[in-house]
């Protein structure tokens, strides 16, 4: 559940138009996870918001680059997320998430591209 929300938040920043909504979603997603896992309320939100902010910054810089950058970003951002959250980082989890991003992100890019084309037409 944690990783699903984590991946959705990053994908949101990379592909959604209104970034503010993604920040709000990341905040409430974090609160939800804290409540689910009986953790200190606000900590996961903070971790998610910081990761999402990094995605926001670097997503702009590398917007024209290959989606592989985004996949690598997912891999390393889980480390930052775990660090802020105060949990252990398992590189295997990062690898699985990176792999998930590898399959999901091109699909999202494709979908977004089609929608853009429809709007232009």
């Amino acid at each position: 559940m944690d990783y699903l929300i984590f991946l959705l938040a990053i994908a949101g920043v990379f592909y959604a138009r209104k970034k503010e909504r993604i920040f709000v979603l990341a905040f409430f997603g974090g609160i939800f996870l804290d409540l689910m896992n009986s953790l200190l309320i606000g900590r996961t939100s903070l971790a998610l918001l910081i990761v999402v902010f990094l995605a926001f910054l670097y997503g702009k810089k590398f917007s024209s680059s290959h989606f592989l950058f985004k996949v690598i970003f997912v891999f390393f951002s889980l480390f930052i997320f775990s660090l802020i959250k105060g949990t252990h980082w398992y590189w295997q989890d990062s690898l699985w998430l990176g792999l998930a991003a590898f399959f999901v992100f091109p699909f999202l890019e494709n979908l977004l591209g089609k929608r853009q084309l429809e709007l232009e037409l």
Partner: protein, 272 residues
């Protein structure tokens, strides 16, 4: 106008980050207990469902041949139960051998405290912690011990962990495999040491003096030293001994008797 629009996401983000800090502060002051309390009514069942699904999925992956999946799971479960029983019997045998010695001292020893148990379901698990569905409403307090296969009369069981944090309707149990865990233990041949969890979920028996004898497959249980754990709670067996003459201490890798990721329910111990 354009700059304002560009700055908007950053302003929203800063506001939300501040709000996160504020909520962390409020939670530390226990001002958000009402929220935890209220939410646990719907988050606990969701957690329980997710945990069961995760366990099933893991089971599918572990049994590779579909037709033998059920058999494999059953055999694994039986094996686990038998292993736990053997461990407890082994400990009992050892204690019987020491009984004569203990009987001599018995007259001077006060009656041991009474144990009561509270059954709790597992809501979530990782290598460091378990989340259970009982909390301060059931009088659970930090530092209480959690076991399975408990024997009320003999005051014995297999250690699952220690209550680390209590919420109104849930508690977090720190497992022996947690990297923050430190438990004073001994082996059947009375070698003493400290059990420590590592980051990758492995457990090591450390600080064992070189002159003490460690034997592979030997049972490791709580020594009763320290305030948290009573004596005789089984944790695991020694699987690998790491000994170097140049070191002051030797250490050994431990295989826990329990698979903490596969537990369904545990018992929280109330010692009166």
């Amino acid at each position: 106008m354009v700059t304002q629009k560009k700055k908007r996401p950053v302003v929203v983000l800063l506001l939300l980050i501040s709000l996160s800090f504020l909520m962390m502060g409020f939670d530390r002051l226990e001002w958000l207990d009402w929220l935890k309390n209220g939410s646990s009514f719907f988050t606990n069942p969701i957690q329980e469902e997710i945990y069961q699904i995760r366990k099933k999925v893991t089971g599918w992956f572990q049994a590779s041949i579909p037709s033998q999946k059920e058999k494999a799971l059953l055999a694994e479960k039986e094996n686990e139960v038998l292993e736990q029983k053997v461990a407890l019997l082994e400990l009992e045998q050892n204690e019987l051998l020491e009984e004569n010695e203990a009987m001599r001292r018995l007259l001077q020893v006060p009656l041991s405290p009474k144990w009561r148990f509270l059954t709790a379901k597992i809501l979530n698990a990782n290598t460091d912690y378990l989340l259970i569905n009982e909390g301060s409403r059931a009088n659970i307090k930090e530092g209480m011990i959690v076991v399975v296969g408990a024997d009320e009369e003999k005051k014995r069981g297999i250690l699952v962990g220690e209550i680390e944090r209590v919420n109104p309707n849930s508690s977090i149990v720190k497992l022996p495999s947690s990297s923050e865990s430190e438990i004073k233990v001994k082996t059947l041949n009375a070698s003493k040491g400290v059990l420590r969890g590592k980051v990758n979920g492995e457990i090591f028996l450390e600080d064992v003096l070189q002159e003490m004898k460690l034997v592979e497959e030997s049972l490791v249980f709580t020594s009763g030293e320290g305030e948290t754990f009573p004596q005789g709670l089984v944790i695991g067996r020694i699987s690998l001994i790491e000994k170097s003459e140049s070191e002051i201490y030797q250490r050994a890798k431990l295989d826990p008797i329990l698979d903490y990721q596969k537990l369904d329910k545990v018992f929280v111990v109330f010692i009166d």
